[in-house]
Symmetry: C2
Subunit: 194 residues, 2 copies
């Protein structure tokens, strides 16, 4: 088997989901920013590909998930292009050469160009982090496995509303064959699949 | 059967594909602009939904079709966001309330949010036009049929490199059950499926 070509996928680390007090803040997300930044810096140093997978919703609600539609329209909209809340958190702002992928559903693969691009650039293995575990992280990871990409999930770069929810998801992910490791473990191993 | 709710889908009417002399101009496309504009005005008057389905390619070629990659990278890029060529032709510029859908492959449905949105707004029938017949028009129409949307194709608002190619595609589309009619026929019938 030839050497893996890693791609980093950072999910939904936008102000509206991350900053304390934001409309749909995931409680554990802000604390992961420094860890994600170290992981991102590692990929940048290696010159390995980076995908920032984010949400954008049209303001009329025509493309949001059904279960979120009412709150979005009648309480508080979020992830609307052109708003500050939609932006990726400042610490993780994409640099030249990194890709932004907009998704409208939980999985970063569902009706997006992500898989087209991973194939084109020859990525074989995915490192996935971001927020939040039970929804977008997990769904993206399961689709990655379904498409044939081995996945490493960086546990301290991934968040949920509570540690219990995170732990329950990590258990399920490990049981399906995902490498769930800390950033330190990932950086030290360097060869998880070799 | 309840009344149909029509949506208009205009495909790839961007400067790079339409303006004479543009990098990848479709020979028949520019001549259809006035007809598409009349169709668009009709939908605007009716307040029926409009989708401008367009292409955008990242400048490094990471998301373009394989068969176009070499020409795109080594001869002339096109449909790159931020360039004038990527813009929809001036006469058909979207107005507030109309949707822009970016596709990376031939079909407007493939790995895009188009079907999510058609379902959400309750569109039941599609009117499809734009360029060009053998590729994006035809592929989008076949996917529309596959998803269960009856399709009207406006023949004088749709183009190809030659009239012969257009005719051959219209024959195939009619044989599969697509209503291929002129704009005048469409406007006069008003009730093609009733």
């Amino acid at each position: 088997m030839k050497d893996p070509k890693y791609a980093l996928i950072i999910i939904d680390m936008q102000n509206d989901f991350v900053l304390p007090g934001a409309p749909v803040c995931v409680a554990g997300a802000y604390a992961t920013v420094p860890c994600i930044k170290r992981l991102l810096d590692f990929f940048r140093t290696q010159r390995w590909p980076v995908f920032h997978v984010i949400r954008e919703y049209r303001a009329d609600g025509s493309d949001i998930e059904l279960t979120r539609l009412d709150g979005f329209l009648n309480q508080k909209p979020y992830a609307v292009p052109g708003t500050e809340g939609c932006n990726i958190v400042a610490e993780l702002t994409p640099v030249e050469g990194e890709y932004r992928i907009i998704k409208n559903r939980f999985s970063g693969f569902m009706n997006t160009e992500l898989d087209f691009m991973l194939r084109r650039i020859g990525a074989t293995h995915l490192v996935i982090c971001g927020t939040q575990y039970p929804n977008c992280i997990r769904t993206t990871i399961f689709d990655a496995l379904a498409y044939g990409y081995p996945v490493i999930n960086i546990t301290d770069a991934t968040s949920a509303q509570t540690p219990q929810i995170a732990e329950a998801n990590i258990t399920d992910l490990r049981n399906i064959g995902v490498e769930c490791v800390t950033l330190q473990e990932f950086l030290e191993s360097g060869s998880v699949w070799k």
